[in-house]
Amino acid sequence: MSGSMNHHILSVLVQNRPGVLARVAGLFARRGYNIFSLAVAPAEQEGRSRITIVVDLDSAPLEQITKQLFKLIDVIKISELDPRRSVERELLIATVRAGTEARGAVLELVTIFEGKIIAVADEVLTVSLEGHPDKLDDFEDLLDSYGIVELQRTGRVALPKLDRGARLRAVN
């Protein structure tokens, strides 16, 4: 589950060079820091990637983690995202048991959460949901009562919240 108090989000801008992910992961492994989730993809600028890391602060103080990370030559910028001042998103896809009796209830759940049905078979459905990780947690809990066959979450991505005027358009 994602909502622990001891998790903190680091948004790490890196040079998109071979091995950069191995460097980041290796650093966490070597220094005994725990990664809760990790998402990587190219960033807005050519040649840069953004890595969103949710770190488990039970393993080390955040300050040490960021300072050690910043020593990696390929790391350009690290932003610590306070969950209260950032927007977070994650994608979940799950194949869930939905035989004739359960199917209606599962469909209803997907509708309530504004998720999508992405594949249908006799006994199972594959559904997707994009949203705040907490919302995904709730959805996952509820789905579980019908029987989750397979599930994959992307790990969260996050950006700082915009200032007030712009934020009005953002729905959580």
Binding site: Q15, P18, Q64, K71, K77
Partner: protein
């Protein structure tokens, strides 16, 4: 000079030319399949290449070179087993912040990932023991990769870098170019070491220093890296504070200076250790609060505020939370602190009274000098005596390299270091076998200096083959081999903490090997010394030999222990004094 036609050269030629552009005069290495192309243009270069006998030797020699010059040491080896042989020196250099550039051959790009002959994932293996490493995938990238490697190795907190070059990139041609400084900076947007230190923190530091009644300057290896020995001395003399020099900082402040308390830590002297414990202000300069210094962290210097000057932001607060963190170059920051103190004094500020502290410290120094008992006639030599005699007969400017073990601690304790860059040792990693190859690197860098390697019988057997290198390359180092027939340091732990149950520490090296014969077979002069009267004359003989390396085997007392000692994990308050001083231990806890 219009450069219209591109200068077509091979990647190998570009590599050697890049090294020349980086002012490399000397490198250490060992050829093999994948790096072969690079050894051809080397024949036409001014760069001197020292052919070692094992790649670990190349790495430690590069470190020794870097230790005494401050310039990056360069080691070049082939792929696979050669690259893995370099791992220990890379880690050693990483731990001790030694600038070093390693160049490794790699299998051709098309073969990477296929488990080709002598393929290994060199960048993967060395990722956590280099400051940065890079696998070059095109000959055109070689000059930039080399420039980055030198830039990163020598700036900020120095450290080892590695450039892995596939064979086809060495063979193929490229258009030579040499990146500008700006291009190098632009290629490393995330790398901007902080030099200057925060002005507010510098002010804060000056304020704390002037207010402290029990200051201690805790000088670490960063002083040497920053070439800040002179600034350190100015600061110490300005505030008249006692100084401790860590194992990595021996020589950064003269042992003969009245303010120098010598080495703190696990085998530090009682005054150096206790002064930190009782201090009200630790002025940590280029030091990293290593566990060998702090002992049990929670009990370390409990009453002290801490000013921590370090160029590596990650060192701030890693072990001990500083009251005044200053991220910057030690030389620059110390000078700024001096300027600030002077400015305050000019405005009428005065320094707190440190006289009680000084008299407490001089009381400790009188009662707790480093000490040992002379050997009985006919008994084995005392290792401390050998070190003192080596020092007494050493010409000025002598460089000492050391292995790891008891002999290292005796050397650090009983040699008097009065000049920076005269002590070469493996501090952070504690690499047995470091002494001989590191001494060779130091001698290659400073042929005018006498270079003594202080070695143990265990260490010697790990890297002695490099004495062949020393002989053939005309690098006449001298080796003082303190042969106690044991892995002495481990034996001491078993004696003290495992009820004298000696397990696998007896090397039985009084007959096998015959060190004198071994030395002679490698082209060295070899001597064996068994009694105190022979010590000085043999050292003099060794000092007179300059056409080949010398090995003196001193037969030393296996039962001798290194004291004082803070057992691993114990508080510095619980240091174990030399047996002859244990009756007065209470004096260390008395306040004056």
């Amino acid at each position: 000079m219009a450069e219209t036609r591109p200068d077509r050269i091979t990647g190998a030629q570009a590599l050697i030319r890049a090294l020349e552009h980086e002012h490399v005069e000397l490198m250490f290495g060992y050829p093999g399949g994948c790096i072969l192309p690079a050894y051809d243009p080397l024949l036409d270069s001014e760069i001197r290449h020292v052919l070692v006998r094992h790649e670990q030797g190349a790495g430690h020699a590069a470190e020794g070179y870097a230790h005494v010059t401050g310039k990056p040491g360069v080691a070049m080896v082939t792929s696979g087993p050669a690259a893995t042989n370099l791992v220990t020196p890379l880690m050693d250099a990483y731990m001790d912040s030694i600038p070093m550039v390693a160049i490794t051959g790699q299998v051709p790009t098309a073969a990477i990932g296929s488990d080709a002959f002598q393929e290994c994932d060199t960048v993967g293996i060395t990722r956590s023991c280099t400051k940065h490493n890079e696998l070059v995938m095109s000959p055109a990238d070689i000059p930039m990769a080399i420039r980055q490697a030198f830039h990163i190795a020598t700036t900020g907190r120095p450290g080892p870098t590695l450039v892995d070059i596939p064979k086809d990139c060495l063979i193929a041609e490229m258009d030579w170019y040499w990146p500008t400084d700006q291009e190098v900076l632009d290629s490393l947007p995330g790398y901007r070491p902080n030099i200057k230190g925060h002005p507010r923190m510098i002010k804060e530091a000056a304020k704390l220093i002037l207010a402290s009644e029990r200051p201690v300057v805790y000088a670490g290896g960063g002083i040497l890296k920053a070439r800040a020995a002179e600034a350190l001395r100015d600061l110490v003399e300005l505030i008249d504070a006692p100084v401790v020099t860590t194992l990595m900082a021996r020589g950064a402040f003269p042992d003969d200076h009245p303010n120098c308390l010598g080495m703190p830590g696990m085998h530090g002297n009682a005054t150096a250790v206790t002064s930190m414990q009782k201090s009200d202000l630790l002025i940590a300069l280029g030091a990293r609060f290593d566990d060998r210094i702090t002992g049990k962290v929670d009990a370390f210097a409990p009453t002290a505020k801490v000013i921590h000057v370090d160029i590596d932001p990650a060192e701030q607060g890693k072990v001990r939370k500083p009251d005044v963190p200053i991220v910057g170059d030690a030389d620059y920051v110390i000078r700024e602190i001096i300027r600030e103190i002077r400015a305050r004094q000019a405005e009428g500020a005065t320094q707190a009274d440190t006289s009680a502290w000084k008299s407490t410290i001089s009381g400790w120094r009188e009662q707790f000098p480093l000490t040992y008992e002379m050997s009985e006639p006919g008994a084995a030599l005392k290792p401390q005596y050998c070190i003192q005699q080596l020092h007494a007969h050493a010409p000025e400017g002598t460089i000492v390299a050391s292995g790891v073990g008891q002999h290292q601690m005796y050397a650090s304790q009983f040699w008097r270091f009065n000049e920076p860059y005269t002590w070469v040792n493996s501090g952070g990693l504690g690499t047995m076998g470091f002494a001989i190859p590191a001494a060779i690197g130091a001698k290659a860098a400073r042929p005018d200096r006498t270079v003594w390697a202080v070695d143990g019988d265990g260490c010697f057997q790990m890297t002695a083959q490099e004495l062949v290198t020393a002989t053939l390359e005309k690098l006449p180092i001298k080796v003082a081999l303190l042969n106690n027939s044991y892995l002495g340091m481990v034996r001491q732990w078993q004696e003290m903490f495992y009820d004298e149950r000696y397990s696998e520490v007896f090397l039985d090296s009084s007959n096998t090997p015959d060190f004198v014969m071994w030395a002679e077979s490698m082209g060295c002069a070899g001597f064996r010394v068994e009694s105190p009267e022979e010590v000085a004359p043999t050292i003099e003989k060794a000092n007179a030999i300059n056409d080949r390396p010398v090995v003196i085997e001193f037969r030393t007392d296996a039962a001798e222990g290194v004291f004082p000692m803070v057992p691993a994990g114990a508080s510095n308050d619980d240091l174990i004094l030399h047996p002859s001083q244990q009756d007065r231990a209470a004096a260390l806890q008395e306040e004056r």
